[in-house]
């Protein structure tokens, strides 16, 4: 623990990130090493090309990459990198955190919010039909289905989830439609060594 503590000093904002994200020191170090590996020119921040290079053909790939970057920014530094990844940490079962602490990044709500923002590219708080149709379904299904079929699916999806009849899915509706899915399982990645 001592050695990793000392090497943690090399990580910018190391202590604070530890507390904020709940990662262990070992994982944080590893992520830092990964960050440095991706940052090939040692600039201290990443651009989208660096991240995209790692992905194999993935329909949601560019959305994920986009999620790392705040709107308007072209680069992402290490704390932001880690904060985004913190959403995918497996949730712990203990609920003993006090009321004054902010909700941890990997709580179910935050995970869902993150996923919602992936769909909602224009950040207007709603997933509209076109967003769902064009961007999500088209990318996921590719050329396997016809346009008409895609439209049916999108229409059906919106209809199922849309409770206030505005032909778009807001965050609450999104959350409600997924209430039976085990988000802790489906949106978690093991960061263990």
């Amino acid at each position: 623990m001592g050695s990793s503590r000392s090497s943690l000093r090399r990580v910018p904002d190391g202590q604070q990130l530890l507390q904020e994200t709940g990662f262990s020191a070992a994982v944080l170090l590893r992520l830092h090493q990964r960050f440095q590996f991706l940052d090939k020119d040692s600039r201290g921040h990443l651009r989208s090309e660096d991240l995209e290079a790692e992905l194999s053909e993935n329909p949601m790939g560019d959305r994920i990459v986009g999620a790392f970057f705040q709107p308007g920014q072209e680069t992402v530094d290490f704390p932001s990198f880690v904060r985004v990844l913190a959403h995918f940490r497996p949730t712990e079962k203990n609920r003993t955190r006090g009321g004054e602490q902010p909700e941890p990044a990997n709580s179910r709500n935050r995970k869902l919010k993150f996923a919602f923002q992936l769909y909602d590219r224009d950040r207007d708080g709603k997933i509209s039909r076109t967003e769902l149709l064009q961007q999500v379904l088209r990318e996921m299904l590719g050329l396997q289905v016809t346009e008409e079929q895609l439209q049916s699916i999108a229409e059906r999806a919106i209809q199922e989830a849309d409770l206030d009849r505005d032909h778009a899915i807001c965050f609450d509706e999104f959350r409600k439609s997924l209430e039976k899915v085990n988000i802790d399982h489906k949106m978690s990645v093991r960061f263990l060594e």
Binding site: N58, L137, M140, L141, A157, Q159, L178, S188, V189
Partner: protein, 774 residues
Amino acid sequence: MLLFGLLLLLLPAGADLSGSAAPLRGPVHASPSAPPRLLLPQPAAERGAPGVASTRSAESGDGQEEPAAAEHPHHGGGYRVVQWEWSYVQTPYVIAIWLLVASVAKILFHLSQRFTTVVPESCMLILLGLVLGGVVLLASKRQLYQLDPALFFLFLLPTIVGDAGYFMPARLFFDNLGAILTYAVVGTLWNAFCTGFCLYAAKLLGADLMDFLLFGALISAVDPVAVLAVFEEVHVNEMLFIIVFGESLLNDAVTVVLYKVYISFVEVGPQNVQTADYFKGVGDVGGTLVGLVFAVILGFITRFTKKVRIIEPLFVFLLVYLAYLTAELFSLMTFCGIGANKYVEANISQKSRTTVKYTMKTLASIAETIIFIFLGISAVDKSKWAWDTGLVSCTLVFILLFRAMGVVGQTWVLNRFRLVPLDKIDQVVMSYGGLRGAVAFALVVLLDAEQVRAKDYFVATTIVVVFFTVMFQGLTIKPLVKWLKVPRSTNRKPTINEEIHERAFDHILTAVEDIAGLQGYHHWRDKWEQFDKNYLSKMLLRKSVYRKSELWEAYQKINIRDAISVIDQVGGPDRVQTGSGSETGRSSADKRLQNQLQFSHQAELYSVLVLVPDSRPPESTQNQNWSQQATGLNIISGETEEACRPSGRSRKPSRTRTRSGFNLDRALFMEQKPSRTRTRSGFNLDRALFMEQKPSRKQINGGGRDFCNLSKICLPRRGSILFCSILFYSILFYFLSLCSFLFVLFLNFFYFVLFYCFSSSLFYSVVLSVLYFL
């Protein structure tokens, strides 16, 4: 295969009898349907005619005469003719009668809804087996029928394992594969060694270490049949079920290997241990590999069966069975059928799918029934075992103790690696759900009495352990699960949103893993999906199927369900909306759907439902009035056709609102109940058609209860009939056990068993009376 298998059953019986009877007597039955009676098909007492008390007592009366009659040498020419014909049909006849007994037993058990909720079916079957065994013993003074290990391993077990493997949800299985393998291999080894050593240390029987290790090996295996029988009625959440069930399937390999190793030790003396260790690791993996190889072959064959649709189910059965036998060839136990599902179901026609599903479940159900009945019967054979109280009690204590310790220990280790940790409640259910069953019994009977001198004691102990776990643990696990508030299986209707988002999450997680540089689970899963898409599916799936997308298929299914539920809801005024309250906004969603679906005439809908299926592939429907939903409905019509037919109803299910017709519709489309529901008619078929998530063979009371809600007017009268039948049934047991008890007063084991019967039947009748009056 069952039929031919049961031939084996009769051979020992034949051998027994021909030894004792006069050599001239060709026919091999103990009670020569007493020569005075020329009626040919007169099933004798030990054949166990359909469980009706009067017949049985009459036959027991006949049975008394039989020993005398058996001494008769065969009579003159007239009887010879009669005898010859009897022996000609005897074998299949007896087999058929046994199957009939088993099936009628199931009917009788399910006469009472309340009874079946409290008592798992396996318990009742074992009790019935005990009774039948007692009857046979009375009739012929010797046990004619028992669970023959060859029969068990070659015919009964593959049906059950094949059924389970074929319908196993592959994704869930592979997600939890680490845990399953750990429990199967490490857990079984731990149980086997500890039990063996501790029994040896307790210095019982004076037998040596090897014998006890052997016994420990065979008693430590969790049994798939028993687990399936009990857990299917309990409905724990899927992850827990798959872990326990997967473990029970895979640990057979370990058990059998250990068993063979120790057998060779005992026979030959200690030899090099290295080969044994080597085998253990290879056993499980090898077995599953064999299964996977055959799954690939099956997928490949079904790709080309378009022109020979009628024999498609045959391929499925043959290859699954061959996979099992091939693994048996190498002394492995395979998880046959796994992995095949995805490709085969896509390739074969709808009718073949139905056939396969229905046949497999029927066969597996019957095999399970037979296994339990024969377990009961074999227990009543006093020539085969010896009772040692110390051994029995020690074994019971040790297996429970070591199972609990093993589970706790392994879970602690596993939780450091798992995404979703297994908590204490899961561990309790897992350790309590470690039921032993017929596999242990079959293995113990296979022991060579010369080599293992304590065999008889082992047999008795195994019987007691099996009975205890199946009956006691099986009975109590349901209240335990309820008390512990174990998360039960969700019976949610899959929505299109869930389908979309779950797939999206998979991609998201893969991307995250790639970015973070982790070669994690999702990374490999994605690689496998790519490989599957690019190579495997191309090879195994038919071209027309290959191009379809899974999401679209899922969407179609959901749409079909909703479309038909719309029809269902706009049906007659006597329709009862049970359970619709649990779905929020459901009726409004359906109303919107009604508007959305572009047909407005119910008559057109109905006519669509009776369209001819499969011969006209759905894609070719070029009716411009219909939207894609109508294409979906054409598919439904095919399925509804199948669904209608077994129930034997007229072709307009939506019109004939008979009680059972309603069940048909409800079965198809109302998913409010757990999907293992089944009511009386052949509608398990229908549920099987649509609810493809959970394999189910068992019946719970959900459908029946719903049924009762519907027929509230009839309930009191119906209830009193049920109550009477329950009481009658319990009194029957009481009486029979009392009779048997009186006859075999002198044996310890019988005393125990029959006391058990007696008290349990009393207990059941008391419980049921209480339940009824509450």
